[in-house]
Structure formats: structure tokens, C-alpha cells
């Protein structure tokens, strides 16, 4: 019944969602939605560079995202513009640069729509290997920095005073963000990566009573959205990325209905914060 490409897309999409969920919680907690957007828009520049320099797309997207985060931190430190103005500047210049570069590369025929909205046909077995290896690494590193990163999210000064290293945790977090965006670009497309990070986390917020619990729920809600979205995409012949985001939105809205209240009643009694590592 399933075409082979569809199974690959399913496996790859679920892998990306499992990683995007926990990371997305931090995006929501720290109000970094626009930062996620900036990185994902910059991903298109990474795509252009990969064609220009003939290197692996995931690798070059990761490199560009990392460069943008470092650039952002540097510009913020100089403090001549507000953070949101800087993010807007970087996001749209990187996107425009990417598009202009791609236009110059007249000798390569690329499917721009595939990069903007995701392309399940483009997922290869190698991609799946990269997603799962990279995703496992991201989750492992996130587990290691979880305490300082979360403490710094609650209050940076408190974390610093009590001997954690919030700056190091934040820097590692940027690295993880760049990795996840590079991994998820093929599945949902550069325009919608932030949605995959934010919507499952937002949906999980209504069900969770502790941060760890919220991260786990976000991962599963994201996976459900990928499965639902991809089946919808197959059924109605819609682009994969937007279909996944629409499925995530449906799950989010479901969480606001009596169904969500019912789920919450099952999940909160044993809550108590989910404990600490």
C-alpha cells in the first residue's frame, strides 16, 4: 500500500519531530520564535552555498545557521539595534541572499518549492541515517545540558550565582538549534521549521505539569503531527510540510477542547514536576 518513499518520509519525519519537540519547548519558554525563524530562513542561503561549493546540503545549512547565531550574538553585544530588528535584518537578508544566489546558479535545476515547503520525495536512506544519528546526538547533548539550560531559562543570574554555566549552556543550545534546522529542512521546508518547533510544544504546555514532561509530550505530539500530516498529504495530494503543520495545528486546537481537559486529568496526578535527573 505504501510506496517506499512514503515510508522513508514517515520514518524521517518522526525522527525530526522527536528532536524538535524538546528543543521547541525551550524556544517557547525563552520566547525565541523569531530566532528560530531567522535560522530557518538562513537555511536557504545554506542550500545555495551547498550547490555553489558542491558540499552536502545538511552540512552547509548547519554551517550557515551556526554562523548566523554567532553573528547575532556578536551584533547583540554591540547593542546598536534591538534584538528583533537584528533578527529581522539577518532573517530576510539571509533569505534574499539565498534566493539571489540560487538565481545565479542557472546551471543547476533545483526545486525551490521543495526547499521552501519540504519534499518527501527528496528523503533518502542516507538522509534518514543522518537524521537519526544527528537527532540522537542532539537529544544526548540536550540531556547533558538540561539542568543548566533550564535553570538559565528560569533565571540566568540565579543559575550563574549557584555555579552553573548558563553562557556555555546557551552557546550549546544555539549549536543544537542549528543542527535541528539542518535536519528538519527537507521534511517541512525552511518556511515552516519554526512551526514544527513551536506548535507541538505549545500544545504540550496545556497537558504538562513539569518541564521534562512537557518536552516528552511535545516530542510525541510532533510525531503524531508528522504521521497525520504525511497521510493527509498522500491522501489529498498536498505539499508535505504545510500538511504536517496543519496536522500540528489540529492537535493544538484539540488540546483546547474538552478532549484536552480529559487528557490533562489523566496526565497531571502523577505530575509533580517530573522530577530531576
Amino acid at each position: 500500500m505504501f510506496d517506499d518513499f512514503f515510508q522513508r518520509a514517515l520514518v524521517a519525519g518522526v525522527g525530526v519531530a522527536l528532536v524538535a519537540g524538546p528543543l521547541g519547548c525551550f524556544i517557547v519558554w525563552r520566547r525565541l520564535a523569531y530566532f528560530g525563524d531567522t535560522l530557518s530562513h538562513a537555511a536557504l542561503l545554506g542550500v545555495a552555498l551547498s550547490f555553489l561549493l558542491d558540499i552536502n546540503i545538511t552540512l552547509s545549512v548547519f554551517a550557515v545557521c551556526l554562523a548566523i547565531s554567532i553573528l547575532l550574538m556578536g551584533l547583540q553585544r554591540r547593542g546598536s539595534l534591538s534584538s528583533d530588528a537584528l533578527l529581522g535584518l539577518l532573517a530576510h537578508s539571509a533569505l534574499a541572499l539565498g534566493l539571489v544566489c540560487l538565481a545565479f546558479l542557472s546551471w543547476v535545476r533545483i526545486d525551490l518549492m521543495g526547499f521552501l515547503f519540504g519534499d518527501i520525495l527528496a528523503v533518502s536512506v542516507f538522509d534518514i541515517a543522518v537524521i537519526y544519528a544527528g537527532g540522537a546526538a542532539v537529544l544526548a547533548v540536550l540531556a547533558v545540558i538540561w539542568r543548566p539550560l533550564f535553570a538559565a531559562t528560569v533565571n540566568r543570574e540565579l543559575a550563574e550565582a549557584e555555579g552553573l554555566n548558563p553562557d556555555a549552556a546557551n552557546a550549546v543550545f544555539m549549536l543544537l538549534m542549528a543542527t535541528v534546522i539542518a535536519l528538519s529542512m527537507k521534511i517541512v521546508g525552511v518556511l515552516l521549521i519554526t512551526a514544527l518547533l513551536i506548535i507541538p510544544a505549545a500544545a504540550a504546555r496545556r497537558l504538562a505539569s513539569g518541564p521534562e514532561q512537557m518536552a516528552v509530550y511535545a516530542a510525541f505530539i510532533g510525531a503524531l503531527a508528522v504521521i497525520g500530516g504525511l497521510f493527509g498529504s498522500l491522501r489529498f495530494d498536498t505539499p508535505s510540510g504545510p500538511s504536517i503543520v496543519v496536522a500540528a495545528l489540529v492537535l493544538f486546537l484539540l488540546g483546547m477542547t474538552p478532549v484536552g481537559a480529559l487528557l490533562r486529568r489523566f496526565t497531571t496526578p502523577q505530575g509533580g514536576g517530573g522530577g530531576a535527573r
Binding site: W29, F150, V154, E162, G163, L164, A208, P211, G273, R277
Partner: protein, 291 residues
Amino acid sequence: MTLAAAARAGAAAPPLVRLENAGLYRDGRWLVRGVDLTVARGEIVTLIGPNGSGKSTSAKMALGIERPDEGAAHRAPGLTVGYVPQKLAIDWTLPLTVDRLMRLTGPLPAGAAHEALERTGVAHLVGAEVRHLSGGEFQRALLARAIARKPDLLVLDEPVQGVDFSGESALYELISAIRAELGCGILLISHDLHVVMSATDHVICLNGHVCCTGAPSAVAGSAAYRQLFGGRANAALAVYEHRHDHVHLADGRVRHADGSITDHCHPGDGHHHHGHAHAEGATETDEAGHV
């Protein structure tokens, strides 16, 4: 061991934290300047002063959150710190229970969280979401979190804000008890002279610089004094109600009692004369005479 004995024992040990002529410069002005302070084991040092006088800033330099632009900050290596910041906003997107808050910066041994919450009187709220707590309850939870870590150094920035009056004195008593129990050093910040407890060993009055500094416990901590004055021991801090002989103008300059205006006032200016001695270890007759 009495508190005074603990304080004396602490004074002999190397300090947990020391600021030497520390100052912080931000956005074209000195937030605070010329701060000298040490906190030793078993000692309670209180910073008092009006809003914007640099109390929190000094504490942040002591904690290593801010690096002084002038002078130096030293902390003993391997220090366990418990910190209650002045402001802590919990975003509604954060699902955080009191129980999880207790383990925010490190794991706790079994029972430690509950015991600490019990002592600050909010054990019944252990499963509650932090954003649903009242201001007073939240402060109690934050204090419990800081003491549950069994810190060497406890830094409390206005720890009883939002707590009702009767709860306030109970919490100050608790803070004293914690010091006696853990033998930790405590750096306490208050904007209100009257609520600073009698157990304070050393008071530093800030107003952008160190205005004056002294040791009320030399008097208030002695058994004879307490017996004599009982509850009025708290009034010992009234000693610190003094007239400042200079005024900080809105533009940052300083007008002195003689009418002269300077850009800064410095601890070394020697411009102020208090009606009483602030020397550390003031004799009993000296300070008791003011009460």
C-alpha cells in the same frame, strides 16, 4: 555556640567572599563604587540603603554574576551558593511546580526539599504550580530552595518582600537559625532599616558608595544586652538612622553639607560625620548609649 561566638569563630576563618573597592560602570555611570565587604563563615552581613543605591549590584559582584569594572571580587573556591534574587519572573509557558523549582540548580537528597519547605511554612504547596503562588508564598518557596542546598554562602536579596509582617520576623528568625545550623555566611539585602534583624553582625549602608559600616552585634548580640533590653534589641539598628551630610542630585552629582557640588562622592571623601562611631567592634557603652 552562641551567635556571637559563631561570628567570632567566623571572623578568624578566611572569608567566603570578599569585595575590594569594587565598582560597576554601566551606560556611562557608576552603579556603585568603592565597595569593600567580606562575608565569613557564620557571619551575617546586611546591606541597607535606598532604592538604586547599589545593594543588588554589590551582591551580584560578590556572586560573580557581574564582574567589577574597578577593584576586585574574590570567592573561596568550591563554594556552594544559595541565592534568592530580588526579581524572579516565571513565564506562564513554563510548567514549573514548587517541587521542581527546589531542584532547579542541582539535585537534592531525599527529604531535603520537604524539610526546607516545612521550615519556611509552605510544605503544603509542594505540588502547586509556581505561577499560582502569591508573592509571599513564592518568596518562602525561593528561600526554601536556597536553604535546601545547604549552602556555604547564602545571598538573600530582599528575601521577605510580599510576606506579611508577622511572617517577616519569623523568616528572619529562621535565617538566623539557618546560619547557626549550617555555619554558612549570609549576605542579606534590605531597603528597610527596621526589618533588619538584631542578629546582623555587620551592616553596610550603601548609597552608590559605602556611606558607613559597622557592627551592631557587638552590642545586640551580647547576652547581657538582650537580657537588659529584651525585644528592644531590634532597636539596635536605630543606631543606623543617621543624617547623611550630602545629597545625591538627579544628574548624578553630589551636593555636600557645605553647599559644594562634586561629580562623585567617595568613601575616602571624608565628608561625613556621624553623631556616633561606626568602628567595627564598637564598645558596649559606646553604642548602647544611643539606645
